[in-house]
Amino acid sequence: MVNPYTIHPATIVQKIQEAEDINTYRLQLVDEQAREHFRFKAGQFNMVYVFGVGEVAISIVSDPDEPELLAHTIRAVGRVTKAIAGLQQGDVLGIRGPFGQGWPLEEARGRNVVIVTGGLGCAPVVAAIEYIFKRREQYGSIKILHGVKTPHDLLYRERFKSWGRFPDTEVLLTSGQPDKAWHYHIGVVTELFERVTIDPGNSIVLMCGPEIMMRLGVPILMRRGIPETAIYLSLERHMECGIGLCGHCQMGPYFLCKDGPVMRYDRVAQWLGRTGV
């Protein structure tokens, strides 16, 4: 019987600093057999384990077609992620996964893609962006709308710039509390909707970020004619098991670890913004 709790050791092949407290870890599963069996979809997550400390759910940011080298971008905010931050190249982490439902990138093929992200929420969606740009000709126009609180929160600055150089691609950035050097839009991410043209009949929207951003943003997109079935959200709840058993990640009738974390908007509309859900 497959034991869904089994943890596979993985070596940190490379540690890349993204910001003061954020690192990307490129990992390779130690066990050859585990490495061969490990296949994932963009938007799925792993439970990442530190010896003697515990596990934490982290989305996979690397390309699904290169499953032998996994990448996780992790901010040191909690008990486990702070322990991860202390690890270096050559150290060993544990991996259990992949879990959950990823982004609908097959369904998005041939359509225009609008990506709306806020703050540090951009990590899960980076996997989708990279996936699309590696297969650029398979998708229509790409619009990336990204909002941060302060310019300091802007991760992947270089990547945003390079994404903007792809054909038929727009990258719009905004900051709510800009500094003097900020030369992009000032305000919240939903204001960027007015600055792009969206073909509502042939677009798919991928959103990831604070729930309030999604809650306020979706109605605006729907007023632009985008059907709610074309809007996908990556949602976040506390996850301990990854397999729909521990009960923590519930949102209404869903277990976000197994039914999500990417959910089509119409399925979760009635639960978003409800207090205590």
Binding site: V2, I7, G52, R237, G247, Q270
Partner: protein, 386 residues
């Protein structure tokens, strides 16, 4: 029903059943009196069972009393359901050892132990069926649960007496055990009507070479079970669920019940179906070895709704609403069944006697708090003091 499916066991011969189970390698677990209640423990002889004892249960109140009857199964139930036998309160999942290069993780699956439980009630069986659905027949199969479940032999007892807190009739789970048992007993005076519900049960029954049950005894047993059903005073009308409960998310009754709830987690601990758990890492002092342990958790704890930087359910109101909405409504969407089996344990073991059969109708009635609801609330708090 064929004759190898049922028979009569004189109560004086109950020990024979226990002996046959022992010979077959089962550890026998049954209700035993301890600290003013009953708990499941290893039974060696019939005299270990709570003969002559009865339980009285009310919201926030549990009392055992001794009668001069020779009833073996007069106690309906204690705080424990069958949950602990399959979904262990503390289950080591992995033993992880530090190695020169990293670590190795070894699953610590429990030995499949042959356990025969005598005295399970229909509501307990319903709870077990729901747990099976969650741990064995969902997206993933839990091997720890599966290992414990494999060795279980369940001897149910049909209820012939209802507690004031019972409402299994309205949840359609009892008082007669319909499925999910190996053997089922009905205690009728000095006799036990015994019925097989599985191949293993049938096999054991044939080994006991019992006299065939008489029509008269079967009728008498059915009459007593029916009388028990008729005597239930509580009921839960779940006909409009799940939707009706989803629609009252902002009902003022949630505030009112939150004023009484202590968030003590008792209801979730005694519930036969609650499955929330957390995983703890317990390293040894040298930090060379660590155990990955699963522990029961509760949606009433502060940590349950935690996500980095904030708590999704900071108030007791949020937590009670989460629990009740999950138990009675979203559970149906998740698993195709209610999460409630009508055992009434959450009512009895709530220190302030919160009663979900009272809360649900109050929540489904129009939102202005009536004076009746107010009086009920006051009554509830007084009951605690009394």
């Amino acid at each position: 029903m064929t004759s190898d499916m049922h028979g009569i066991l004189p109560k004086s011969s109950l020990q024979r059943l226990l002996d046959v189970l022992s010979v077959r390698g089962y550890r026998i677990v049954g209700p035993m009196v301890r600290d003013g209640s009953v708990v499941w423990d290893t039974v060696r002889s019939v005299s270990d069972l709570p003969i002559g004892w009865r339980d009285q249960q009310e919201p926030g109140r549990y009392r055992l009393e001794q009668t001069d009857s020779q009833e073996v199964f007069g106690v309906v139930h204690g705080a424990q359901s069958l949950k602990q036998f399959v979904f262990a309160p503390r289950e080591p999942l992995l033993q992880i050892e530090r190695r020169k290069e990293g670590f190795t993780a070894r699953p610590t699956l429990p030995q499949s132990e042959k356990v025969a439980i005598i005295g399970a009630r229909a509501c307990d069986l319903a709870g077990l069926t729901i747990q099976d659905r969650i741990f064995l027949n969902d997206a993933y199969r839990d091997p720890y649960y599966a290992s414990r479940r494999e060795g279980l032999f369940v001897i149910a007892v049909n209820c012939t007496r209802a507690l004031s807190t019972c409402f299994c009739v309205s949840m359609e789970t009892g008082p007669r055990a319909r499925s999910g048992f190996d053997l089922a007993l009905t205690e009728v005076d000095n006799q036990l009507l015994i019925e097989a519900g599985s191949e293993a049960g049938r096999d054991l029954l044939s080994n006991l070479s019992l006299s065939t049950s008489s029509e008269q005894l079967s009728v008498e047993a059915a009459t007593r079970i029916e009388a028990c059903a008729q005597s239930q005073v509580r009921r839960l009308d779940h006909s409009r669920l799940p939707q009706a409960l989803y629609e009252v998310h902002e009902h003022p009754r949630w505030d009112e019940v939150a004023g009484r709830c202590l968030a003590c987690t008792n209801c979730t601990m005694v519930c036969p179906t609650c499955f929330c758990h957390t995983v703890e890492e317990t390293p040894d002092l040298s930090h060379q070895q660590t155990t990955h342990v699963r522990l029961w958790d509760s949606c009433f704890t502060q940590e349950h709704g935690y996500i980095h930087g904030k708590n999704i359910r900071p108030t007791i109101k949020d937590r009670y609403r989460m629990w009740l909405t999950h138990k009675l409504a979203s559970w149906i969407d998740q698993f195709g069944t209610s999460g409630c089996v009508g055992c009434g344990r959450c009512i009895t073991w709530c220190p302030v006697g919160i009663d979900l059969t009272e809360e649900l109708p109050a929540l489904l009635s129009p939102g202005i708090q009536s004076s009746t609801a107010k009086r009920q609330a006051d009554g509830n708090s007084r009951r605690v003091e009394g």
